[in-house]
């Protein structure tokens, strides 16, 4: 799959320049996420409000919830980054959308529950209900971009991106689609903030340490929307080519890989298995890095790592002393399974 466009909205802002700044600049501490119902706060990597302000991309989405806006902005940017603004209607009918999410639009679900508690079963808001359905965000993406191909929303706590990419690859390889907008969205809210405070080991300095491979890892809740535009065309990918999507990945990856990005973000109860994974990679002279401390504990953080990989592949000069040719992004789940996505620079 050629990687032709990327859109990203995260705690560092919106766009690849913001991602680049976040990856190369000094570490930025999380900000307090207020939990008004409990007169408290939790440190979080939250998307700044100004990153979600765009009257053009979000036109006619006045009633959309925040989850839908995050997804739509990321998808909009990936679409335009790939230069598809003028795509004709026939081509849009051969475009698919896949969205993965760990928890979906839970903020809207809780808003709907507020309605039930406040007004009873018969006087609740239809808008809140219709937006609480997981695939509402994809409906907005499809309507906003005029995409009439297949649309799928899937949920998995750790592997939402690999499963979404797997579906994209199927549609491209069986000829159903010529291109697919594929991405993930996970958002924060006050209730999840409260849950995070009870379920996560949040470090006092707000710094998570993926390289510690801890049996009791620290986590700081985070949120992000990331979309990729992938195709099977003859035009090389602007950001390279995804050559492997394996979920679960039971086979050892023997292809030469320059860098391994692992999303150890504190959401597993035990991160020690990453130690062996990295040790094995380093034996093969593969550099191992996690950027989770830059984004926080985003369940779909593998998307941010894939975006980072794509950016690195694009920006590393082929004639440099150590050119990056292939980067693997890996993540483990609670069952001890591994998912792998690899991207390489196209000749």
């Amino acid at each position: 799959m050629n990687l032709q466009g990327i859109g990203i909205v995260f705690s560092g802002g919106r766009g690849l320049a913001a991602l680049d700044r976040s990856l190369t600049g000094a570490w930025t501490p999380p900000v307090p996420l207020a939990i008004p119902e409990r007169d408290s706060a939790v440190p979080a990597y939250a998307i700044p409000a100004d990153a979600l302000a765009d009257k053009t991309a979000l036109k006619a989405m006045r009633r959309a919830d925040r989850f839908g806006k995050i997804a739509t902005l990321a998808a909009w940017d990936a679409w335009h980054d790939a230069g598809l603004a003028d795509l004709d209607e026939t081509a849009r009918a051969r475009t698919g959308i896949v969205l993965g999410s760990a928890l979906g639009p839970h903020v809207t679900t809780f808003r709907f529950l507020d309605d039930i508690l406040a007004y009873g079963d018969t006087e609740v808001s239809p808008t809140a209900f219709s937006h609480s359905v997981h695939n509402a965000a994809v409906s907005y993406v499809a309507t906003r971009l005029g995409i009439r191909g297949p649309a799928l929303t899937v949920t998995d706590f750790h592997f939402s991106l690999p499963y979404a990419l797997l579906q994209a690859r199927i549609w491209l390889s069986n000829g159903r689609c010529d291109r697919v907008l594929v991405g993930t969205t996970d958002e924060l809210g006050t209730v999840m903030g409260y849950i995070a405070r009870h379920k996560m080991r949040i470090p006092t300095d707000g710094h998570i340490r993926p390289e510690a491979f801890s049996s009791q890892p620290a986590a700081v809740p985070g949120e992000a929307g990331v979309f990729f535009l992938v195709d099977h065309g003859t035009t090389p990918g602007t950001y390279g080519r995804i050559d492997k999507v394996a979920v679960p990945d039971a086979e050892p990856d023997t292809s030469p890989t320059d860098s391994l990005l692992y999303d150890a973000n504190g959401l597993l109860s035990d991160e020690t298995p990453y130690r062996a994974l990295c040790a094995e990679a380093r034996e093969r002279s593969t550099d191992c890095v996690s950027h989770a401390d830059r984004f926080g504990s985003v369940p779909s953080g593998l998307s941010l790592h894939l975006a980072a990989a794509a950016l690195a592949l694009k920006h590393t000069a082929p004639d440099s002393a150590a050119p990056l040719r292939r980067i693997a992004c890996v993540k483990l789940n609670g069952r001890g399974q591994r998912a792998t996505i690899s991207a390489n620079r196209q000749p």
Binding site: E37, R38, D39, R92, A93, I97, L103, G104, H106, T109, F112, L113, I116, L117, D121, T122, V124, P126, F129, S130, H131, S132, V133, H134, N135, A136, S139, Y140, A142, T143, L145, G146, I147, R148, G149, P150, A151, L152, T153, V154, T155, D156, F157, Y163, L166, Q167, I170, S173, N174, R176, V191, Y194, I195, H198, K199, V247, P248, A250, R335, Q337
Partner: protein
């Protein structure tokens, strides 16, 4: 290595019609609708629902999973798949709507009460309760496990996804379908949208007034020929022959008025199965009994199939089971092909002059080896499945 033929080696179902395929067939033959008031939870809403004749789950918030396991175990038993063959090459792909949300009112009420500390057991159940993951853990499947959350087409899209997993060689077997429980949250939601009927639903009828909610699960064990032969079993007669999906890009909750997305999904499914419209022995329509759905869907079915192909909606027997509907109706479609008849479309009496097709009003013998099942969903999703059976 790709297997082009995907077999249905097991079927499992639970709905308001009963538990298991044989009970379901008997209930269809008797033609009885089982709608009644909500008894599973407290609500001030009085619209009838179709509850599964199955005791309330002993484990709160696990009803969807428990319903799903009833259907999954039946499908596995029917297939005769030995436990030792379930493993890394076994996938699980299931659709749902309710099971993917933390819509636990007891937890949320406690959370809102500043003086209370809400118990976290509901949260734990939710965080560990991804439907496909939970089923995969339970049966020991270690291949891909994916929960599809495409609203009311989730079950059909899950089966279509599983079909492609086998075709592309990712799995040897996949448990695929959908499950959803009756739950207060969607009940309130559908009521707020004004699309629930005060009486038992009447799909495609001139006087239809909306849908009734239902619950249940429908699961198929899809399997490659290689897998079936490797375990020494005979190749089943039933096949998952085609899948198509297309979007409306129109509205969050209303179908596109011209039905173009649904028509595209149907035509893609037919092409995928390499069948012509006239080869369909019948169409198991989504047929929710809302004015919009049935008008749009009926128009599309008229355009694609004319009025010679029998159609039916089974929502008059089960209610709208949301994320389970595509799975349950795929099981019904397979059973009808196996048995050679379709039941009367419960609730239908008077033809709607705005709909070019009308469902069957009595038990109807069918001729042919292929049938289509459609699903429409919020978000503008449309899905169609083609199921086939070998000639006798």
């Amino acid at each position: 290595m790709q297997d082009s033929t995907v077999y249905i080696s097991g079927l499992g179902v639970v709905s308001a019609l009963g538990t298991g395929v044989e009970t379901t067939l008997c209930a269809f033959a008797e033609g009885a609708a089982q709608a009644g008031p909500v008894t599973l939870f407290e609500t001030s809403l009085t619209q009838p629902v179709f509850a599964a004749p199955w005791p309330p789950s002993a484990r709160p918030s696990r009803r969807t999973f428990d319903l799903c396991m009833v259907a999954a175990r039946e499908a596995l038993d029917q297939a005769g798949l030995p436990r030792e063959r379930i493993g890394a090459r076994t996938g699980v792909c299931l659709g749902t709507t309710v099971a993917c949300q933390l819509n636990d009112l007891a937890f949320y009420t406690a959370y809102k009460d500043r003086a209370a500390e809400p118990a976290m057991d509901a949260v734990d159940r939710y965080l560990n309760g991804n439907l496909a993951e939970a089923v995969a853990r339970t049966i020991g499947a270690a291949g891909p496990a994916l929960t599809v959350v495409n609203a009311c087409s989730s079950g059909a899209d899950a089966i279509g996804t599983a079909l492609n997993w086998i075709r592309q060689g990712l799995c040897d077997q996949v448990l695929a379908g959908g499950a959803d429980e009756l739950n207060r949250i969607p009940l309130c939601g559908f009521h707020s949208l004004g699309i629930m009927s005060d009486n038992v639903c009447r799909p495609f009828d001139r006087d239809r007034r909306g849908l009734n909610l239902g619950e249940g699960a429908g699961v198929l064990l899809l399997e490659s020929a290689r897998s079936i032969q490797a375990r020494g079993a005979s190749l089943p007669k039933l096949k998952a022959a085609g899948y198509g999906a297309a979007g409306d890009a129109h509205h969050l909750t209303a179908p596109r008025p011209d039905g173009a997305g649904l028509e595209e999904a149907i035509r893609i499914a037919l092409r995928d199965a390499d069948r012509a419209p006239e080869a369909m022995a019948f169409v198991n329509a989504h047929g929710t009994a809302t004015p919009d759905n049935d008008r749009v869907e009926g128009g599309v079915l008229g355009r694609v199939f004319g009025d010679a192909t029998p159609i039916l909606s089974t929502k008059g027997y089960t209610g709208h089971t949301l994320g389970a509907a595509g799975g349950i109706e795929a099981v019904f479609t397979a059973l009808a092909l196996r048995e050679g008849w379709i039941p009367a479309s419960a609730g239908f009496e008077n033809r709607d002059p705005d709909i070019p097709v009308a469902p069957v009003t009595q038990r109807t013998p069918i001729a042919g080896q292929t049938a289509l099942s459609t699903s429409l969903a919020f978000g503008g999703n449309n899905a169609a499945l083609v199921i086939a059976i070998d000639a006798p």
